[in-house]
Symmetry: C2
Subunit: 272 residues, 2 copies
């Protein structure tokens, strides 16, 4: 992959890069299509990165289907799929981590210690291997996007980060490879995430600026769903991720909620 | 600098890179000359990196002389000098660090917590800005060289790391910008470093393979010098930096010794 990237760069080709963990859905494909419009060559990585999973997490059962992914990726304009082995990415004696301090241990990072350190490390590695001009991430993983943007800026990575809108199912559920874990009931309950995010947006639009008030209204609506268990609901500055007490201008409303054994995340930008 | 590197790369020029903290001596210049022989363009950075200095260390008094450095660098074949400000390298909100875990907290890292994390971070940044084909480091800073090699390998950095031999004063003292701190007496005493490293080499050549024995002989000789105070003497595997009890094949003998308020390091590779 390194050699191919190097030779593409020497030919003056621009490279668009879509890093994924595979089991592609319309969210990933929207990134690939965008990359296809922007760059000469679209490279997609498919790598279920062990370092970003905790010991109790779903690394082993995370859904994988390279054959299906390959066909979908091609249909969305991907030219090259890079699917390294864990052993080649983290050989014996591996010791180096890139970490965005202060953004990695809050929200999802509080529940998933080491997760964002694993994400920033693998993305730093992939950028060095693929050498993209532009890399694409989904707004669904809002904290991830903020962490990656910060890392690329701080470490002077020669790549532009583009964060693309959330792609949703018909009923509004954000697309995620983990949706496949949901039972029928859980899947029905999960619709509440979109509902409470739109509620938050509406409350803010109607002048409710107190974050605690908005969060409480969201909490009450989620708690009506039997399979739901809230991990967090937060209203934040979208650059620094500092909590926002009173919403002025733009803010990020983000949440993580369990449905049975599946933890889903979603978010919305509100504007007062 | 990023734009220049990018344009040089697009022109197909190869870039040799010598990162320094300035106050150049023959050690730095030997790296620049080597780079000049290897690559089309030689870039040298001069940046006294605040992040690798501890709060009690010599960041403020570290010697600086950009005008003299510029002339010396040119004479050694440097085409471009990059001397960023600390503010541009670490702007407000800076949060990201690259760290080689396990190699950064031993030896010099034990005495200088955060030092190697600062070194690996700034080198990661400089590599992304300068985009070199080859980067040059001195064997004098042996632990630094091992940390950088490991980071470049682990993070798949598209750069070759070359580590060049220690350049010494006539009496054998390893060249260092910090030698300028030494009083006349301390400077005379500091010669003992080279002497004990050659003693170690000789003992190993004569079949002494017990590291404790070799270290004890070195310790005794250093202790004869009034201004000397030993920080550490260690015999290590030159890749993993694991301590070596019995020397078989190659090993790195490394030491750090204070002379008055100046801490000097030196090392030698021995072969049994």
């Amino acid at each position: 992959m390194s050699q191919l990237s190097r030779s593409l760069r020497l030919q003056g080709k621009s490279i668009g890069f879509v890093p994924t963990m595979g089991y592609l859905h319309e969210g990933h494909l929207s990134l690939a299509r965008k990359a296809n419009g922007d760059s000469d060559i679209v490279i997609m990585s498919i790598f279920v990165n062990p370092v970003q999973f905790g010991p109790q997490e779903d690394f082993k059962k995370y859904p994988r289907n390279l054959k299906r992914d390959t066909a979908l990726a091609k249909s969305a304009g991907v030219d090259v799929i890079f699917y390294p082995s864990a052993k080649s990415m983290y050989p014996a004696g591996y010791k180096t981590y890139a970490e965005v301090e202060g953004l990695s241990d809050i929200l999802c990072g509080e529940f998933r210690p080491g997760h964002f350190k694993g994400v920033s490390t693998v993305v730093a590695k992939l950028f060095n291997i693929v050498q993209p001009d532009i890399a694409y991430f989904g707004q669904k993983d809002a904290q991830q996007a903020i962490v990656i943007r910060r890392m690329a800026l701080d470490l002077n990575m020669p790549v532009e980060i583009k964060v693309m809108p959330i792609v949703r199912e018909k009923d509004g559920l954000a697309m995620s490879s983990r949706n496949t874990y949901l039972s029928k009931n859980e899947r029905q309950d999960a619709f509440v995430l979109r509902k409470v995010l739109l509620l938050a947006k509406d409350l803010v639009r109607r002048g409710k600026r107190n974050s605690s008030y908005v969060i409480e209204k969201m909490r009450l609506m989620i708690q009506e769903k039997r399979s739901a268990k809230i991990d967090y609901i937060a209203i934040l500055d979208a650059q620094t991720m500092a909590p926002v007490k009173f919403i002025r201008g733009k803010a990020l409303v983000a949440l993580a909620v369990w449905f049975g054994k599946t933890r889903l995340i979603d978010n919305i930008v509100v504007n007062s």
